[in-house]
């Protein structure tokens, strides 16, 4: 009998949880769909992701195919965005380059989020000296202006796209950690955490199963905003010649080579920059919408 009651109760609980999750999702979806700017952002991001996936189908030419007789051709029906100094089709390079530029952005944010969230959860949950040590380390990381910490890391690891991913990722760690730390400190004081602890859950279960899902909203908002910054930073580092190396069609690197032909072939620099700007705009629009939907306290 007792086990029957428990089973019924747990079924009810699971159903209630599912309904709450469904309601929450519906409310989030309705807020997001009503926000036109966020939807524009979502469409832009969706289009870029699609472009990333089907680049080989869309690209009219091989992005690495050098054809010196076609070099520096202005935009035409054959080459919609023109050709570069080596006669390579700029459109095809941009399509393939989306995999690198967007990929580096996502990878670095995931890197920063993983370490940042873990540090933030530990600092916020344990408090006391653990928090003091982690917070001071974060303060120090934040004392480096802009991308200088990333530059210092690259100077040690050497140029290259993977090292740029790590450097930009490290640069994101304190931002995630700070947000998660603050939210964790709030959530851990709630009664249900005490209840879970009373029934014998260990710290690992409490932190990762019960606190983490409840601090996800600010993480998602921050993640979306960070993607924009990460893509910009990674492209900037490639522009400086410290990231993707030639003949890679990474957008920052393309822009960098286009700079030398600003007088004769400005389109070489214009198109890669335009692609970065539209994507970053998309993430900013979507991030603003996410913030309004998930974290009304931060609404500006």
């Amino acid at each position: 009998m007792a086990s029957k009651v428990t089973t019924t109760q747990s079924i009810d609980l699971a159903r209630a949880r599912k309904n709450t999750r469904k309601e929450r999702w519906q409310s989030f979806w309705s807020v997001m769909t009503q926000n036109k700017a966020a939807m524009v952002g979502a469409v832009i991001i969706g289009a870029y992701l699609l472009m990333m996936l089907i680049a080989p189908i869309l690209a009219p030419f091989d992005p690495y195919d050098i054809s010196l007789e076609d070099k520096l051709t202005p935009p035409s029906m054959e080459h919609w965005m023109g050709t570069d100094d080596k006669g390579r089709d700029i459109l095809s390079r941009i399509l393939y380059g989306s995999r690198l530029s967007i990929g580096v952005g996502f990878a670095s944010v995931l890197f920063g989020a993983f370490f940042g969230i873990t540090l933030g959860l530990i600092a916020g949950y344990y408090g006391k000296w653990v928090d003091t040590i982690i917070s001071r380390v974060l303060d120090i990381m934040l004392a480096f202006p802009g991308i200088l910490l990333a530059l210092a890391i690259i100077s040690a690891l050497g140029p290259g796209l993977i090292n740029v991913t790590i450097a930009v990722g490290v640069f994101s760690i304190p931002l995630f950690a700070r947000i998660v730390r603050g939210s964790t400190m709030e959530v851990k004081k709630l009664e249900y955490i005490d209840a879970i602890r009373t029934i014998g859950a260990n710290d690992f279960i409490i932190i990762f199963r019960h606190i983490l899902p409840n601090v996800m909203s600010p993480i998602i908002v921050q993640g979306s905003m960070r993607l924009a910054t990460a893509i910009l930073s990674a492209a900037g580092l490639s522009f400086l010649g410290l990231g993707a190396q030639p003949p890679s069609p990474e957008w920052g690197a393309m822009l960098s080579s286009g700079r030398d032909f600003l007088f004769s072939a400005p389109y070489m620099a214009i198109f890669p920059g335009l692609m970065i700007s539209i994507l970053v705009l998309g993430f900013n629009l979507f991030g603003d919408g996410l913030r309004d939907a998930l974290d009304p306290k931060l609404k500006k």
Partner: protein
């Protein structure tokens, strides 16, 4: 106020030590033998050993760090691997250029950002507000290095109004300062707008209007003063990304500032130069943050930051 500044100065000591530690440790991550790197390519084994001995690289890492910090505080950042000259000399030559660029850029950030934010907030949701905010969103999204190239193409190549590159006179400052300042201005504009809207909705603003005060008096005397408080923090933070941004903008406009020095040093593997450049830029940022805190307190007397 004096006590507050003294306390904040004491508080930044661990941060400064931490920054030196991070810079020191990052350089320890460099693959290979640091003595061989510092001795330069093609150095003989004896020279490498001499370097190891002279620089104390055979001593425990903690001792090496303490020596490094001691040297830094005495102004000894080591010598450049490229020209063998003291790193500090090169930094002192480049820093004023970067600071001048940063000063004009932050001026653009503050003036343009505040003006745009106020214009938007005075008539929220009007066409004027929406247009300003759309432009601000574009300003946040444009990569500074691309904007710099576009401005250079338009004003230097096409219209030929301004010089393409260099740092010789006032005309050279305009494009780099605008390039660097616009992104921050967009962020300040968004912050000013939201902060102004929060303040304008408060009861005391309604009271000020009910008293019959002129609208511009209400906006500038009552609303703006309080709305500025969170804006100051944003401007302080913007200074950090602006200082980092000089790296890109100086490269675009071929300005021989600290940022370009760091990038060139990374390319030539001139590690002491990278170390010195990053350290000095970070120290400048730490002190600017202190200045922002002092300003914050001066404007907002209600908060006791002690």
């Amino acid at each position: 106020m004096f006590l507050f500044i003294a306390k904040r100065l004491v508080q930044i000591i661990p941060v400064i030590l931490g920054v030196t530690l991070v810079v020191f440790l990052i350089m320890q991550m460099v693959p290979g033998d640091p003595a061989a790197i510092l001795a330069g390519e093609g150095a003989s084994q004896d020279t490498i050993e001499q370097y190891r001995e002279d620089l104390g690289l055979n001593r425990p890492i903690a001792e090496q760090y303490l020596t490094y910090v001691g040297n830094v505080f005495q102004g000894d950042f080591g010598n450049s691997l490229k020209n063998k000259q003291p790193v500090l000399d090169e930094i002192l030559l480049r820093l004023p250029i970067t600071m001048e660029l940063a000063f004009y850029s932050i001026l653009i950030t503050v003036v343009l950002g505040l003006a745009a934010g106020i214009i938007s907030a005075v008539k929220p949701y009007s066409i004027r507000d929406v247009s300003v905010m759309v432009v601000a969103l574009l300003g946040i999204s444009l990569p500074s290095f691309w904007l710099g190239l576009l401005l250079m193409y338009l004003f230097s190549v096409k219209l030929q109004w301004l010089p393409v590159a260099g740092w010789d006179g006032p005309a050279n400052i305009i494009l780099p300062a605008v390039t660097l300042g616009v992104g921050g201005a967009a962020i300040v504009a968004r912050m000013t707008r939201s902060s102004m809207l929060d303040v304008i909705g408060q009861d005391y603003i309604r009271t000020a209007r009910a008293k019959g005060l002129k609208e511009h008096f209400v906006i500038y005397k009552h609303a703006l003063r309080n709305a500025l408080i969170p804006v100051i923090t944003v401007v302080g933070l913007q200074f950090g990304s602006l200082l980092g941004g000089t790296v890109l903008v100086e490269s675009v406009f071929a300005i021989n500032g600290l940022g370009r020095m760091i990038v060139d040093a990374i390319r030539t593997r001139d590690l002491p130069m990278v170390q010195g450049g990053v350290l000095v830029a970070s120290l400048v940022f730490v002190f600017v943050n202190l200045l922002v805190d002092v300003l914050y307190r001066a404007v907002n007397k209600r908060i006791d930051l002690n």
